[in-house]
């Protein structure tokens, strides 16, 4: 089991830091669970800009350079944008609700970050009789996958607060559209996930991943329609194109963040990208076997982490890829899709699986 070098280091390292192994492990996990999605989100902004440029036969941002010399494929653009956001004037409109206006970016950002807490990003390993779980919350916490769903639903309040507090017609339109969209897609999504809980026999992510121990057992095979529903709903949930009605820059200026500038805008933007990371890891956990490596039973811990990271990065790319492929839906089309296609589809998926389980006994 302890094939990984780090796992043998756990106790000595903890000893040197005057911590118990459990506390030390918790701190390590905390750092990973915060740093990894944030870093990935920051890189995703770069991937989005350069990737979209490639898709549209452009070059993308490549002029920003460290000390005017090293362009590094446009990566310094991230730092340049960050510095710019910090140096911008922090405007608050006169009639805005000041307190909520300041609170809204935090309300959008924190739930986005919280969603990652329950997702296992690697295989559990044993050392000296102690099990080390690679998820912030250990299995058996009683929340399981319900937690990211609930947190995901809270995320809409960030957008709604941002739109309402900025006292702007465009913003409130964006916020209302976003909340309507999230409410309608949440049902289909929950039903799709419910089918997985049913067939797995539990809602703990460790359990769900454990059940998908080979490629054929991945839930995407068994719950293909559920996957389509969940995947679509994730786009609605993250407010990404083709469902970015909260922003809708061709219709309502910039939607909910019309009045936002400087670092508050950056935080809203970062929240969207963290949402993508969390959504990708949810998809991976629920439908693509989480940290399971195809064709390898009981993979080494490091390989399982790499496998999870690879899958998450791929699905992050799919989010970006689809954004630059599809145009925005019309709002009534979105509602039609949500209520008349996605909901019946996931309901049928649930019933078919219930029937099959009943037949098998």
């Amino acid at each position: 089991m302890g094939s990984l070098p780090e796992s043998c280091l756990m106790e000595p390292l903890a000893h040197h830091l005057h911590l118990s192994p459990a506390t030390f492990w918790m701190i390590v996990k905390l750092v990973i669970a915060f740093a990894a999605p944030l870093t990935l989100a920051a890189i995703l902004t770069w991937v989005e800009r350069r990737g979209s440029a490639m898709i549209q036969d452009r070059i993308g941002p490549n002029r920003a350079a460290i000390l005017g010399r090293w362009r590094l494929l446009g990566l310094p653009q991230l730092a340049a944008d960050g510095i710019k956001f910090f140096l911008k004037e922090d405007l608050v409109t006169r009639d805005a609700n000041k307190a909520l206006f300041w609170l809204a970016p935090v309300m959008a950002f924190v739930p986005a970050m919280m969603g990652f807490a329950v997702i296992p990003f690697g295989r559990t390993f044993m050392e000296n009789g102690t099990a080390y779980h690679l998820s912030l919350l250990d299995p058996g916490n009683g929340m399981g996958m319900l937690y990211p769903m609930a947190i995901g639903a809270v995320a809409v309040y960030g957008i709604l607060t941002a739109s309402w507090s900025s006292n702007n017609k465009w913003a409130i339109l964006g916020g209302m559209r976003s909340s309507a969209q999230m409410v309608s897609y949440e049902i289909g999504m929950s039903l799709a996930v419910l089918a997985i809980f049913m067939t797995t026999g539990g809602y703990d992510p460790h359990q769900i991943i454990g059940a998908q121990d080979s490629v054929l057992h991945w839930n995407v095979v068994r719950h293909f329609f559920g996957f389509i529903v969940f995947f679509t709903c994730m786009f609605a949930e993250t407010n990404r194109l083709p469902f970015d009605f909260a922003e809708g820059e061709s219709e309502i200026v910039a939607g909910f963040h019309t009045e936002y500038g400087s670092m508050k805008f950056a935080l809203l933007q970062l929240a969207e990208y963290v949402h993508i990371v969390v959504a990708a890891s949810l998809i991976v956990t629920l439908y693509f076997g989480g940290w399971q490596v195809p064709f390898i039973k009981e993979p080494p811990v490091l390989l399982s982490v790499l496998s999870f990271a690879g899958k998450v990065v791929f699905f992050c790319w799919v989010f970006i890829w689809i954004r630059w492929t599809l145009p925005r839906f019309r709002f009534d089309q979105l509602m039609f899709l949500g209520w008349k296609v996605m909901l019946p589809l996931s309901l049928a998926n649930l019933l078919v699986h219930a029937f099959l389980m009943h037949q098998r006994g």
Binding site: G51, A53, M54, I55, Q56, D57, R58, I59, N62, I228, W321, I322, W324, T325, L326, L337
Partner: protein, 187 residues
């Protein structure tokens, strides 16, 4: 004019959205990969300050006032270009040649002042069309910018030297055939 509505009947495969979306994703991925594995020199974008675009021979860029081999100006100050100019950006003041020069085969007139306001010029090439002596050309230089308005007023000597470096000619600052006052009593 009748407006024609084209009714598109979607097949059930298209109605599911999934297959058309995958088709679209295949197209974008094709573009992505093609652009990714094309060297930046071969991409569509000309990264301007670093690379310059090659312009065709007919390009209408910065003007040049042509000169004879000895360096004297071809322009005869006939005002045809100034008349043809839709932007009214050409200012000409004519000067007289002396008889001596006329005997040598030069025309009687030449410009003492030939000024083009590059901020007004629309690079239409009408002056080039109008010129009976082929004395003004619009050529390939498209990079004209300056920090003040005054330096965008190109005078006679500026215009005669605009392409001197490019063509490997000497920059000239004075006419090799100066105007000679006519002998008194003849005029």
């Amino acid at each position: 004019m009748a407006v024609v509505f084209k009714k598109v009947e979607l097949t059930w495969v298209d109605r599911t959205y999934v297959v058309p979306v995958l088709k679209g994703m295949a197209i974008t991925m094709k573009h992505f990969l093609r652009q990714l594995f094309t060297s930046s020199r071969k991409r569509y974008t000309v990264q301007y300050p670093d690379w310059k675009r090659e312009v065709g021979p007919g390009y209408r860029g910065l003007h040049e006032l042509k000169r004879f081999e000895d360096g004297s100006i071809k322009c005869v100050a006939c005002f045809m270009c100034a008349e043809a100019c839709p932007a009214r950006c050409i200012t000409i003041e004519a000067d007289e040649f002396g008889d001596l020069n006329t005997l040598q085969g030069f025309a009687e007139k030449r410009p003492s002042v030939f000024r083009i306001d590059m901020l007004r010029c629309i690079y239409c090439g009408m002056c080039e069309e109008a010129c009976p002596k082929d004395a003004i050309w619009l050529r390939g230089d498209y990079e004209q910018a300056s920090y003040d308005r005054l330096s965008m007023l190109f005078g006679k000597w500026d215009l005669m030297n605009t392409y001197a470096d490019k063509d490997g000619k000497a920059r000239i600052t004075q006419d090799p055939t100066p105007s000679v006052p006519r002998p008194s009593g003849k005029a």
